[in-house]
Amino acid sequence: MSDRITRPAVEKVARLARLSLTEDEIVIATRELGDMLDHFADIDALDLDDVEPMTQPVPLVNVMRDDVEAPTLDRDEVLAAAPVATDGQFRVPPIIGLDA
Protein backbone atom coordinates (compact mmCIF):
# COMPACT_ATOMS: atom_id res chain seq x y z
CA MET A 1 0.00 0.00 0.00
CA SER A 2 1.18 3.47 -0.88
CA ASP A 3 2.28 5.95 1.78
CA ARG A 4 1.91 8.97 -0.49
CA ILE A 5 -1.13 10.25 1.34
CA THR A 6 -2.11 10.01 4.99
CA ARG A 7 -5.48 9.72 6.62
CA PRO A 8 -5.36 13.26 8.07
CA ALA A 9 -4.59 14.60 4.58
CA VAL A 10 -7.62 12.76 3.18
CA GLU A 11 -9.81 14.17 5.93
CA LYS A 12 -8.53 17.67 5.16
CA VAL A 13 -9.21 17.26 1.42
CA ALA A 14 -12.73 15.98 2.10
CA ARG A 15 -13.32 19.03 4.26
CA LEU A 16 -12.02 21.35 1.50
CA ALA A 17 -14.30 19.61 -1.02
CA ARG A 18 -17.30 19.84 1.33
CA LEU A 19 -17.77 16.09 1.21
CA SER A 20 -18.94 14.33 4.34
CA LEU A 21 -17.25 10.91 4.15
CA THR A 22 -18.06 7.83 6.22
CA GLU A 23 -15.35 5.95 8.11
CA ASP A 24 -15.29 3.31 5.35
CA GLU A 25 -15.05 5.96 2.64
CA ILE A 26 -12.08 7.60 4.37
CA VAL A 27 -10.21 4.28 4.59
CA ILE A 28 -10.93 3.47 0.92
CA ALA A 29 -10.09 6.98 -0.28
CA THR A 30 -6.74 6.90 1.56
CA ARG A 31 -5.80 3.65 -0.17
CA GLU A 32 -7.13 4.60 -3.64
CA LEU A 33 -5.65 8.09 -3.71
CA GLY A 34 -2.28 6.71 -2.64
CA ASP A 35 -2.38 4.04 -5.35
CA MET A 36 -3.29 6.59 -7.99
CA LEU A 37 -0.55 8.99 -6.94
CA ASP A 38 1.87 6.05 -7.30
CA HIS A 39 0.74 5.61 -10.92
CA PHE A 40 1.02 9.35 -11.53
CA ALA A 41 4.64 9.42 -10.39
CA ASP A 42 5.65 8.52 -13.97
CA ILE A 43 5.82 12.22 -14.87
CA ASP A 44 8.43 12.84 -12.17
CA ALA A 45 10.98 11.48 -14.65
CA LEU A 46 10.35 14.36 -17.07
CA ASP A 47 12.45 17.51 -17.10
CA LEU A 48 9.79 20.21 -17.32
CA ASP A 49 11.69 23.20 -15.99
CA ASP A 50 11.50 25.20 -19.22
CA VAL A 51 7.98 24.16 -20.21
CA GLU A 52 5.14 26.67 -19.98
CA PRO A 53 1.95 25.33 -18.38
CA MET A 54 -0.92 24.80 -20.86
CA THR A 55 -4.31 25.57 -19.35
CA GLN A 56 -6.46 25.43 -22.48
CA PRO A 57 -6.16 24.29 -26.10
CA VAL A 58 -7.08 27.57 -27.81
CA PRO A 59 -5.47 30.72 -26.43
CA LEU A 60 -8.38 33.16 -26.60
CA VAL A 61 -8.48 36.33 -24.52
CA ASN A 62 -11.21 38.79 -23.59
CA VAL A 63 -13.95 37.54 -25.87
CA MET A 64 -16.61 40.25 -25.90
CA ARG A 65 -20.12 39.98 -27.25
CA ASP A 66 -21.94 42.88 -28.89
CA ASP A 67 -23.53 45.14 -26.28
CA VAL A 68 -27.14 44.54 -27.23
CA GLU A 69 -30.14 43.65 -25.10
CA ALA A 70 -31.20 40.03 -25.17
CA PRO A 71 -33.61 37.93 -23.13
CA THR A 72 -32.25 36.49 -19.89
CA LEU A 73 -33.39 33.39 -18.05
CA ASP A 74 -36.92 33.57 -16.67
CA ARG A 75 -36.67 34.25 -12.93
CA ASP A 76 -39.67 32.16 -11.94
CA GLU A 77 -38.49 29.26 -14.08
CA VAL A 78 -35.04 29.38 -12.45
CA LEU A 79 -36.43 29.59 -8.93
CA ALA A 80 -38.87 26.77 -9.65
CA ALA A 81 -35.86 24.46 -10.03
CA ALA A 82 -34.42 25.42 -6.62
CA PRO A 83 -34.86 23.16 -3.59
CA VAL A 84 -36.38 26.07 -1.65
CA ALA A 85 -37.24 29.58 -2.83
CA THR A 86 -39.01 32.41 -1.01
CA ASP A 87 -39.96 35.94 -2.12
CA GLY A 88 -38.16 35.64 -5.45
CA GLN A 89 -34.91 34.42 -3.85
CA PHE A 90 -33.09 31.19 -3.07
CA ARG A 91 -33.63 30.22 0.56
CA VAL A 92 -30.83 28.61 2.57
CA PRO A 93 -30.35 27.58 6.21
CA PRO A 94 -28.52 30.00 8.56
CA ILE A 95 -25.10 31.02 7.24
CA ILE A 96 -23.64 31.34 10.75
CA GLY A 97 -22.98 27.75 11.73
CA LEU A 98 -23.89 26.28 15.08
CA ASP A 99 -20.24 25.35 15.59
CA ALA A 100 -18.80 28.57 14.13
Binding site: A9, V13, R18, D35, H39, F40, M54, V58, L73
Partner: protein
Protein backbone atom coordinates in the same frame (compact mmCIF):
# COMPACT_ATOMS: atom_id res chain seq x y z
CA UNK B 1 -29.57 -1.05 -39.49
CA UNK B 2 -30.37 -0.59 -43.14
CA UNK B 3 -29.04 2.47 -44.98
CA UNK B 4 -32.62 3.76 -45.16
CA UNK B 5 -32.36 4.39 -41.42
CA UNK B 6 -29.45 6.80 -41.83
CA UNK B 7 -29.61 10.54 -41.18
CA UNK B 8 -29.19 11.69 -44.79
CA UNK B 9 -31.64 9.10 -46.11
CA UNK B 10 -34.35 9.99 -43.61
CA UNK B 11 -33.95 13.74 -44.09
CA UNK B 12 -34.05 13.38 -47.90
CA UNK B 13 -37.22 11.30 -47.69
CA UNK B 14 -38.98 13.64 -45.27
CA UNK B 15 -37.97 16.78 -47.17
CA UNK B 16 -39.23 15.36 -50.45
CA UNK B 17 -42.45 14.15 -48.87
CA UNK B 18 -41.82 10.51 -49.77
CA UNK B 19 -41.62 9.56 -46.08
CA UNK B 20 -43.42 11.15 -43.16
CA UNK B 21 -41.61 12.21 -40.01
CA UNK B 22 -44.39 10.51 -38.05
CA UNK B 23 -43.81 7.15 -39.76
CA UNK B 24 -40.04 7.39 -39.31
CA UNK B 25 -40.54 8.17 -35.64
CA UNK B 26 -42.90 5.21 -35.13
CA UNK B 27 -40.29 2.83 -36.64
CA UNK B 28 -37.79 4.05 -34.07
CA UNK B 29 -40.26 4.05 -31.16
CA UNK B 30 -41.16 0.50 -32.17
CA UNK B 31 -37.56 -0.62 -31.79
CA UNK B 32 -37.38 1.21 -28.46
CA UNK B 33 -40.50 -0.67 -27.31
CA UNK B 34 -38.91 -3.96 -28.37
CA UNK B 35 -35.45 -3.62 -26.86
CA UNK B 36 -35.10 -0.66 -24.49
CA UNK B 37 -35.97 -2.73 -21.40
CA UNK B 38 -32.98 -4.90 -22.23
CA UNK B 39 -30.53 -2.22 -23.45
CA UNK B 40 -31.44 0.68 -21.12
CA UNK B 41 -30.01 3.35 -23.39
CA UNK B 42 -32.29 6.07 -22.05
CA UNK B 43 -32.90 7.91 -18.80
CA UNK B 44 -36.05 9.31 -20.41
CA UNK B 45 -37.95 8.58 -23.65
CA UNK B 46 -39.83 11.69 -24.78
CA UNK B 47 -42.29 9.86 -27.03
CA UNK B 48 -45.26 12.23 -26.59
CA UNK B 49 -43.27 15.36 -27.35
CA UNK B 50 -41.60 13.56 -30.26
CA UNK B 51 -44.97 12.60 -31.78
CA UNK B 52 -46.20 16.20 -31.53
CA UNK B 53 -42.98 17.43 -33.06
CA UNK B 54 -43.12 14.93 -35.97
CA UNK B 55 -46.71 15.93 -36.73
CA UNK B 56 -45.70 19.60 -36.88
CA UNK B 57 -42.82 18.78 -39.24
CA UNK B 58 -45.10 16.81 -41.54
CA UNK B 59 -47.54 19.74 -41.64
CA UNK B 60 -44.70 22.08 -42.54
CA UNK B 61 -43.53 19.82 -45.39
CA UNK B 62 -47.14 19.58 -46.64
CA UNK B 63 -47.27 23.39 -46.59
CA UNK B 64 -44.23 23.54 -48.85
CA UNK B 65 -41.65 24.39 -46.18
CA UNK B 66 -38.22 22.80 -45.83
CA UNK B 67 -37.60 21.90 -42.17
CA UNK B 68 -33.85 21.59 -42.74
CA UNK B 69 -31.01 19.10 -43.16
CA UNK B 70 -32.22 16.92 -40.26
CA UNK B 71 -35.90 16.97 -41.23
CA UNK B 72 -37.67 14.23 -39.30
CA UNK B 73 -34.43 12.63 -38.09
CA UNK B 74 -34.90 10.94 -34.69
CA UNK B 75 -32.06 11.99 -32.39
CA UNK B 76 -31.12 11.12 -28.81
CA UNK B 77 -29.31 13.46 -26.42
CA UNK B 78 -26.83 12.52 -23.72
CA UNK B 79 -28.49 13.44 -20.46
CA UNK B 80 -25.86 16.04 -19.60
CA UNK B 81 -27.19 18.32 -22.36
CA UNK B 82 -29.70 20.85 -21.07
CA UNK B 83 -33.21 20.62 -22.47
CA UNK B 84 -35.62 23.35 -21.40
CA UNK B 85 -38.37 21.99 -19.18
CA UNK B 86 -37.24 18.39 -19.76
CA UNK B 87 -35.44 16.56 -16.92
CA UNK B 88 -31.64 16.58 -17.26
CA UNK B 89 -30.03 14.28 -14.70
CA UNK B 90 -26.38 13.65 -15.68
CA UNK B 91 -27.34 10.15 -14.43
CA UNK B 92 -26.85 11.49 -10.90
CA UNK B 93 -29.11 11.54 -7.85
CA UNK B 94 -27.82 15.10 -7.45
CA UNK B 95 -29.85 16.35 -10.44
CA UNK B 96 -32.73 13.87 -10.41
CA UNK B 97 -35.88 15.73 -11.45
CA UNK B 98 -34.08 18.96 -12.37
CA UNK B 99 -35.61 20.77 -15.36
CA UNK B 100 -33.21 23.25 -16.98
CA UNK B 101 -34.51 26.74 -17.77
CA UNK B 102 -32.81 26.78 -21.20
CA UNK B 103 -31.75 24.60 -24.13
CA UNK B 104 -28.11 23.84 -24.90
CA UNK B 105 -26.98 25.56 -28.10
CA UNK B 106 -26.59 22.17 -29.80
CA UNK B 107 -30.15 21.23 -28.85
CA UNK B 108 -31.50 24.48 -30.33
CA UNK B 109 -29.49 23.88 -33.52
CA UNK B 110 -30.78 20.30 -33.91
CA UNK B 111 -34.30 21.63 -33.45
CA UNK B 112 -33.80 24.40 -35.99
CA UNK B 113 -32.51 21.80 -38.49
CA UNK B 114 -35.71 19.75 -38.19
CA UNK B 115 -34.60 16.94 -35.85
CA UNK B 116 -36.99 15.04 -33.58
CA UNK B 117 -35.65 14.38 -30.07
CA UNK B 118 -36.70 10.89 -28.91
CA UNK B 119 -35.08 10.98 -25.48
CA UNK B 120 -32.21 11.59 -23.08
CA UNK B 121 -29.52 8.93 -22.86
CA UNK B 122 -27.78 7.25 -19.95
CA UNK B 123 -24.18 8.06 -18.99
CA UNK B 124 -21.61 7.47 -16.31
CA UNK B 125 -22.54 9.94 -13.57
CA UNK B 126 -21.45 13.45 -14.67
CA UNK B 127 -19.65 11.76 -17.62
CA UNK B 128 -17.03 10.17 -15.34
CA UNK B 129 -16.39 6.62 -16.47
CA UNK B 130 -15.79 4.32 -19.42
CA UNK B 131 -18.61 1.77 -19.13
CA UNK B 132 -21.84 3.54 -17.94
CA UNK B 133 -21.58 1.34 -14.85
CA UNK B 134 -21.30 4.57 -12.84
CA UNK B 135 -24.85 5.70 -13.72
CA UNK B 136 -27.01 6.21 -10.63
CA UNK B 137 -29.89 4.72 -12.64
CA UNK B 138 -28.27 1.43 -13.67
CA UNK B 139 -25.94 0.54 -16.55
CA UNK B 140 -26.63 0.54 -20.28
CA UNK B 141 -26.05 -2.80 -22.09
CA UNK B 142 -24.19 -3.21 -25.37
CA UNK B 143 -26.73 -3.99 -28.12
CA UNK B 144 -24.20 -6.37 -29.75
CA UNK B 145 -23.91 -8.49 -26.58
CA UNK B 146 -25.99 -7.48 -23.58
CA UNK B 147 -23.60 -9.22 -21.16
CA UNK B 148 -21.07 -6.51 -22.01
CA UNK B 149 -20.73 -2.78 -21.43
CA UNK B 150 -21.38 -0.25 -24.22
CA UNK B 151 -18.39 1.82 -23.11
CA UNK B 152 -18.71 5.27 -21.65
CA UNK B 153 -19.31 7.77 -20.57
CA UNK B 154 -21.70 8.37 -23.51
CA UNK B 155 -22.73 4.67 -23.46
CA UNK B 156 -26.44 5.38 -23.80
CA UNK B 157 -25.96 7.58 -26.86
CA UNK B 158 -23.75 4.97 -28.57
CA UNK B 159 -26.14 2.13 -27.73
CA UNK B 160 -29.18 4.13 -28.89
CA UNK B 161 -27.71 4.49 -32.39
CA UNK B 162 -26.36 0.92 -32.49
CA UNK B 163 -29.80 -0.44 -31.54
CA UNK B 164 -31.65 1.73 -34.08
CA UNK B 165 -33.47 3.71 -31.37
CA UNK B 166 -32.28 6.94 -33.03
CA UNK B 167 -30.58 7.71 -36.35
CA UNK B 168 -28.11 9.97 -34.57
CA UNK B 169 -27.25 11.00 -31.05
CA UNK B 170 -25.06 13.52 -29.29
CA UNK B 171 -22.51 12.74 -26.62
CA UNK B 172 -19.73 14.61 -24.87
CA UNK B 173 -16.06 13.66 -24.94
CA UNK B 174 -13.69 14.77 -22.19
CA UNK B 175 -11.15 11.93 -22.43
CA UNK B 176 -12.71 9.57 -24.98
CA UNK B 177 -16.34 9.48 -23.87
CA UNK B 178 -17.64 9.58 -27.46
CA UNK B 179 -14.94 7.61 -29.28
CA UNK B 180 -14.57 4.66 -26.90
CA UNK B 181 -18.32 3.82 -26.71
CA UNK B 182 -18.59 4.37 -30.48
CA UNK B 183 -15.85 1.75 -30.93
CA UNK B 184 -17.45 -0.71 -28.52
CA UNK B 185 -20.92 -0.32 -30.07
CA UNK B 186 -19.79 -0.37 -33.72
CA UNK B 187 -20.89 3.14 -34.67
CA UNK B 188 -19.16 6.33 -35.83
CA UNK B 189 -18.28 8.80 -33.05
CA UNK B 190 -16.62 12.21 -33.45
CA UNK B 191 -14.78 14.44 -30.95
CA UNK B 192 -14.49 17.75 -32.85
CA UNK B 193 -11.74 20.36 -32.46
CA UNK B 194 -12.02 22.11 -29.10
CA UNK B 195 -14.14 25.21 -29.70
CA UNK B 196 -15.79 23.94 -32.88
CA UNK B 197 -19.03 23.14 -31.07
CA UNK B 198 -20.56 25.41 -28.42
CA UNK B 199 -20.51 24.02 -24.89
CA UNK B 200 -23.36 26.27 -23.70
CA UNK B 201 -25.79 23.94 -21.97
CA UNK B 202 -23.38 21.03 -21.65
CA UNK B 203 -23.15 20.36 -17.93
CA UNK B 204 -19.47 21.04 -17.29
CA UNK B 205 -17.08 18.25 -16.28
CA UNK B 206 -13.62 19.55 -17.28
CA UNK B 207 -14.12 22.75 -19.22
CA UNK B 208 -10.77 22.85 -21.05
CA UNK B 209 -11.30 19.29 -22.36
CA UNK B 210 -15.08 18.88 -22.92
CA UNK B 211 -16.46 18.80 -26.47
CA UNK B 212 -19.86 17.73 -27.81
CA UNK B 213 -20.01 15.48 -30.87
CA UNK B 214 -22.24 13.11 -32.86
CA UNK B 215 -22.80 9.35 -33.04
CA UNK B 216 -24.17 7.98 -36.33
CA UNK B 217 -24.08 4.77 -38.38
CA UNK B 218 -22.07 6.32 -41.22
CA UNK B 219 -19.26 8.84 -41.73
CA UNK B 220 -21.43 10.95 -44.07
CA UNK B 221 -24.19 11.13 -41.48
CA UNK B 222 -21.66 12.24 -38.86
CA UNK B 223 -20.55 15.04 -41.19
CA UNK B 224 -24.17 16.15 -41.60
CA UNK B 225 -24.88 16.28 -37.87
CA UNK B 226 -21.55 17.89 -37.01
CA UNK B 227 -22.13 20.59 -39.64
CA UNK B 228 -25.48 21.38 -38.01
CA UNK B 229 -24.18 21.67 -34.44
CA UNK B 230 -20.78 23.32 -35.13
CA UNK B 231 -20.00 26.98 -35.62
CA UNK B 232 -19.50 30.13 -33.55
CA UNK B 233 -21.68 30.84 -30.52
CA UNK B 234 -21.37 34.17 -28.71
CA UNK B 235 -22.52 32.43 -25.52
CA UNK B 236 -19.37 30.24 -25.34
CA UNK B 237 -16.22 32.29 -24.93
CA UNK B 238 -14.09 29.35 -26.13
CA UNK B 239 -16.10 29.04 -29.35
CA UNK B 240 -13.95 29.40 -32.48
CA UNK B 241 -15.11 32.59 -34.22
CA UNK B 242 -14.61 31.34 -37.81
CA UNK B 243 -17.34 29.38 -39.62
CA UNK B 244 -16.93 25.58 -39.50
CA UNK B 245 -15.69 24.13 -42.81
CA UNK B 246 -17.95 22.23 -45.21
CA UNK B 247 -17.16 18.52 -44.84
CA UNK B 248 -19.10 17.33 -47.90
CA UNK B 249 -16.16 17.50 -50.35
CA UNK B 250 -14.08 15.39 -47.93
CA UNK B 251 -16.37 12.39 -48.17
CA UNK B 252 -15.45 11.60 -51.77
CA UNK B 253 -11.91 12.96 -51.67
CA UNK B 254 -10.16 9.66 -50.99
CA UNK B 255 -6.70 9.50 -49.41
CA UNK B 256 -4.46 9.68 -52.48
CA UNK B 257 -1.46 11.82 -51.63
CA UNK B 258 -2.24 11.99 -47.91
CA UNK B 259 0.48 11.12 -45.40
CA UNK B 260 -0.90 8.92 -42.61
CA UNK B 261 1.18 8.58 -39.46
CA UNK B 262 1.84 5.39 -37.53
CA UNK B 263 3.00 6.21 -33.99
CA UNK B 264 6.03 3.96 -33.50
CA UNK B 265 6.26 4.59 -29.75
CA UNK B 266 2.52 4.26 -29.06
CA UNK B 267 1.97 2.94 -25.51
CA UNK B 268 1.42 -0.83 -25.45
CA UNK B 269 -1.84 -2.21 -24.18
CA UNK B 270 -4.04 -2.84 -27.21
CA UNK B 271 -5.31 -6.41 -27.43
CA UNK B 272 -3.98 -8.41 -30.43
CA UNK B 273 -7.39 -8.53 -32.15
CA UNK B 274 -7.66 -4.74 -31.98
CA UNK B 275 -4.05 -4.21 -33.09
CA UNK B 276 -4.68 -6.49 -36.09
CA UNK B 277 -7.57 -4.32 -37.23
CA UNK B 278 -5.45 -1.18 -36.92
CA UNK B 279 -2.77 -2.85 -39.06
CA UNK B 280 -5.48 -3.70 -41.60
CA UNK B 281 -6.55 -0.04 -41.59
CA UNK B 282 -3.02 1.06 -42.52
CA UNK B 283 -2.97 -1.54 -45.31
CA UNK B 284 -6.32 -0.32 -46.63
CA UNK B 285 -5.22 3.32 -46.62
CA UNK B 286 -1.93 2.46 -48.33
CA UNK B 287 -3.84 0.49 -50.97
CA UNK B 288 -6.04 3.54 -51.52
CA UNK B 289 -3.05 5.74 -52.27
CA UNK B 290 -1.97 7.11 -48.89
CA UNK B 291 1.65 7.14 -47.76
CA UNK B 292 2.22 5.57 -44.34
CA UNK B 293 4.87 7.41 -42.32
CA UNK B 294 6.34 6.37 -38.96
CA UNK B 295 6.33 9.19 -36.40
CA UNK B 296 7.23 9.42 -32.72
CA UNK B 297 5.16 11.07 -30.00
CA UNK B 298 7.37 10.48 -26.95
CA UNK B 299 5.03 12.18 -24.45
CA UNK B 300 1.92 10.23 -25.59
CA UNK B 301 2.21 7.78 -22.72
CA UNK B 302 2.22 10.55 -20.10
CA UNK B 303 -1.24 11.65 -21.23
CA UNK B 304 -3.01 9.37 -18.79
CA UNK B 305 -1.32 10.96 -15.78
CA UNK B 306 -1.74 14.51 -17.09
CA UNK B 307 -5.41 13.86 -17.83
CA UNK B 308 -6.23 12.20 -14.52
CA UNK B 309 -4.80 15.20 -12.68
CA UNK B 310 -6.20 17.97 -14.92
CA UNK B 311 -9.70 16.58 -15.47
CA UNK B 312 -10.40 15.88 -11.77
CA UNK B 313 -8.93 19.28 -10.84
CA UNK B 314 -11.33 21.05 -13.21
CA UNK B 315 -14.16 18.77 -12.11
CA UNK B 316 -13.60 19.51 -8.43
CA UNK B 317 -14.08 23.18 -9.27
CA UNK B 318 -17.01 22.74 -11.67
CA UNK B 319 -18.89 20.41 -9.35
CA UNK B 320 -18.64 22.87 -6.46
CA UNK B 321 -21.91 24.30 -7.80
CA UNK B 322 -23.85 21.25 -6.52
CA UNK B 323 -24.39 22.63 -3.04
CA UNK B 324 -28.13 22.24 -2.57
CA UNK B 325 -28.85 25.94 -3.10
CA UNK B 326 -29.92 26.66 -6.68
CA UNK B 327 -30.88 23.32 -8.23
CA UNK B 328 -31.05 19.61 -7.62
CA UNK B 329 -30.85 17.75 -4.36
CA UNK B 330 -30.76 19.34 -0.92
CA UNK B 331 -30.28 17.41 2.31
CA UNK B 332 -31.54 19.60 5.14
CA UNK B 333 -29.14 20.56 7.92
CA UNK B 334 -29.02 23.26 10.62
CA UNK B 335 -26.56 25.52 8.76
CA UNK B 336 -25.31 26.00 5.20
CA UNK B 337 -21.96 24.31 5.69
CA UNK B 338 -23.52 21.16 7.11
CA UNK B 339 -26.13 21.30 4.32
CA UNK B 340 -23.41 21.43 1.63
CA UNK B 341 -21.57 18.47 3.11
CA UNK B 342 -24.64 16.31 3.63
CA UNK B 343 -26.09 17.15 0.19
CA UNK B 344 -22.87 16.31 -1.63
CA UNK B 345 -22.35 13.12 0.40
CA UNK B 346 -25.78 11.84 -0.59
CA UNK B 347 -26.01 13.22 -4.14
CA UNK B 348 -22.71 12.05 -5.61
CA UNK B 349 -21.72 8.46 -6.41
CA UNK B 350 -18.39 6.80 -5.62
CA UNK B 351 -16.52 7.68 -8.83
CA UNK B 352 -17.58 11.34 -8.71
CA UNK B 353 -16.43 11.58 -5.08
CA UNK B 354 -13.17 9.87 -5.99
CA UNK B 355 -12.44 12.44 -8.70
CA UNK B 356 -13.50 15.41 -6.59
CA UNK B 357 -11.11 14.20 -3.87
CA UNK B 358 -8.27 13.64 -6.34
CA UNK B 359 -8.82 17.01 -7.99
CA UNK B 360 -9.12 18.90 -4.73
CA UNK B 361 -5.89 17.29 -3.53
CA UNK B 362 -4.05 18.11 -6.79
CA UNK B 363 -5.09 21.76 -6.43
CA UNK B 364 -4.54 22.13 -2.68
CA UNK B 365 -1.85 24.31 -1.13
CA UNK B 366 1.45 22.49 -1.00
CA UNK B 367 0.57 20.00 -3.75
CA UNK B 368 -0.46 22.30 -6.61
CA UNK B 369 3.02 22.54 -8.14
CA UNK B 370 3.79 18.85 -7.74
CA UNK B 371 0.56 17.64 -9.35
CA UNK B 372 -1.72 20.09 -11.18
CA UNK B 373 1.07 22.47 -12.18
CA UNK B 374 3.27 19.66 -13.43
CA UNK B 375 0.36 18.08 -15.34
CA UNK B 376 -0.19 21.35 -17.21
CA UNK B 377 3.46 21.28 -18.31
CA UNK B 378 3.10 17.68 -19.49
CA UNK B 379 0.03 18.81 -21.44
CA UNK B 380 2.17 21.40 -23.25
CA UNK B 381 4.81 18.74 -23.97
CA UNK B 382 2.19 16.41 -25.48
CA UNK B 383 0.77 19.21 -27.64
CA UNK B 384 4.29 20.05 -28.87
CA UNK B 385 4.96 16.40 -29.77
CA UNK B 386 1.72 16.21 -31.77
CA UNK B 387 2.46 19.52 -33.51
CA UNK B 388 5.86 18.17 -34.54
CA UNK B 389 4.27 14.98 -35.89
CA UNK B 390 1.72 16.98 -37.86
CA UNK B 391 4.61 18.72 -39.57
CA UNK B 392 5.27 15.39 -41.26
CA UNK B 393 1.82 13.78 -41.60
CA UNK B 394 -1.75 14.86 -42.34
CA UNK B 395 -3.47 12.45 -39.95
CA UNK B 396 -2.68 9.68 -37.47
CA UNK B 397 -4.26 6.27 -36.91
CA UNK B 398 -4.47 4.42 -33.57
CA UNK B 399 -6.87 2.07 -31.82
CA UNK B 400 -9.85 3.92 -30.30
CA UNK B 401 -10.12 1.48 -27.40
CA UNK B 402 -7.50 -1.04 -26.22
CA UNK B 403 -10.11 -3.83 -26.33
CA UNK B 404 -13.53 -4.76 -27.66
CA UNK B 405 -16.51 -4.44 -25.30
CA UNK B 406 -15.76 -6.00 -21.91
CA UNK B 407 -18.06 -7.74 -19.42
CA UNK B 408 -19.90 -5.94 -16.62
CA UNK B 409 -17.81 -5.82 -13.45
CA UNK B 410 -14.53 -6.52 -15.28
CA UNK B 411 -12.94 -3.21 -14.31
CA UNK B 412 -15.04 -1.86 -11.45
CA UNK B 413 -12.82 -3.09 -8.61
CA UNK B 414 -9.72 -1.17 -9.75
CA UNK B 415 -10.30 2.47 -10.76
CA UNK B 416 -6.99 2.61 -12.61
CA UNK B 417 -7.89 -0.41 -14.79
CA UNK B 418 -10.94 1.54 -15.97
CA UNK B 419 -8.83 4.66 -16.59
CA UNK B 420 -6.56 2.66 -18.92
CA UNK B 421 -9.52 2.40 -21.36
CA UNK B 422 -8.78 6.05 -22.20
CA UNK B 423 -5.08 5.60 -23.08
CA UNK B 424 -5.47 6.24 -26.81
CA UNK B 425 -8.25 8.84 -26.69
CA UNK B 426 -6.97 11.19 -23.96
CA UNK B 427 -4.23 13.04 -25.90
CA UNK B 428 -6.72 14.64 -28.34
CA UNK B 429 -8.59 16.22 -25.45
CA UNK B 430 -5.38 17.55 -23.92
CA UNK B 431 -4.28 19.07 -27.26
CA UNK B 432 -7.77 20.15 -28.39
CA UNK B 433 -7.32 18.38 -31.72
CA UNK B 434 -10.17 16.48 -33.42
CA UNK B 435 -10.40 12.68 -33.45
CA UNK B 436 -13.03 10.14 -34.39
CA UNK B 437 -13.71 6.43 -34.15
CA UNK B 438 -14.79 4.51 -37.25
CA UNK B 439 -16.06 0.92 -37.16
CA UNK B 440 -13.50 -1.26 -38.91
CA UNK B 441 -14.50 -4.88 -38.78
CA UNK B 442 -14.65 -7.15 -35.77
CA UNK B 443 -12.31 -8.59 -33.17
CA UNK B 444 -12.67 -11.18 -30.41
CA UNK B 445 -16.08 -12.89 -30.23
CA UNK B 446 -17.22 -11.06 -33.36
CA UNK B 447 -17.48 -7.75 -31.49
CA UNK B 448 -16.95 -4.38 -33.21
CA UNK B 449 -13.52 -2.73 -33.36
CA UNK B 450 -13.12 1.02 -33.83
CA UNK B 451 -10.13 2.61 -35.52
CA UNK B 452 -9.30 6.12 -34.37
CA UNK B 453 -8.43 8.84 -36.90
CA UNK B 454 -6.64 11.88 -35.43
CA UNK B 455 -5.93 15.20 -37.15
CA UNK B 456 -4.55 18.63 -36.17
CA UNK B 457 -6.84 21.40 -34.92
CA UNK B 458 -9.55 22.22 -37.48
CA UNK B 459 -8.32 19.26 -39.54
CA UNK B 460 -11.83 17.78 -39.73
CA UNK B 461 -11.87 17.85 -43.56
CA UNK B 462 -8.80 15.59 -43.68
CA UNK B 463 -10.04 13.46 -40.79
CA UNK B 464 -13.37 12.83 -42.52
CA UNK B 465 -11.62 11.99 -45.82
CA UNK B 466 -9.59 9.29 -44.05
CA UNK B 467 -12.61 8.04 -42.11
CA UNK B 468 -14.72 7.82 -45.28
CA UNK B 469 -11.97 5.82 -46.98
CA UNK B 470 -11.81 3.37 -44.06
CA UNK B 471 -15.59 2.98 -44.23
CA UNK B 472 -15.45 2.27 -47.97
CA UNK B 473 -12.62 -0.23 -47.66
CA UNK B 474 -14.23 -2.20 -44.84
CA UNK B 475 -17.26 -2.57 -47.07
CA UNK B 476 -15.29 -4.48 -49.72
CA UNK B 477 -14.57 -7.72 -47.94
CA UNK B 478 -12.10 -6.47 -45.36
CA UNK B 479 -14.40 -6.67 -42.37
Amino acid sequence: MSPADGVDSIAAGVRSGSRSAAAVLEEHLGRIAEREAEVHAFTLVTDSAARERAAVLDERVAAGEDPGPLAGVPVALKDNLCTRGVPTTCSSRMLEGWRPPYDATVVARLHDAGAVVVGKTNLDEFAMGSSTENSAFGPTRNPHDTSRVPGGSSGGSAAAVAAGFAAASLGSDTGGSIRQPAALCGVVGVKPTYGAVSRLGLVAFASSLDQIGPFTTSVADAATVLTVIAGPDPSDSTSIPEPFPDLRPSLERGVAGLRIGRISDLPAGADPDVAARVDAAFDALAAAGATIVDVEIPAFGYGLTAYYLIAPAEASSNLARYDGVRFGLRVDAPDTDAMYMATRAEGFGAEVKRRIMLGTYALSAGYYDAYYGKALKVRRRIAADFAAAYGRVDALITPASPSVAFAFGDKTSDPFAMYLCDTYTIPSNLTGDPAMSVPFGTGADGLPVGVQVLAPALGEPTMFAVAAELERSVGVGDG
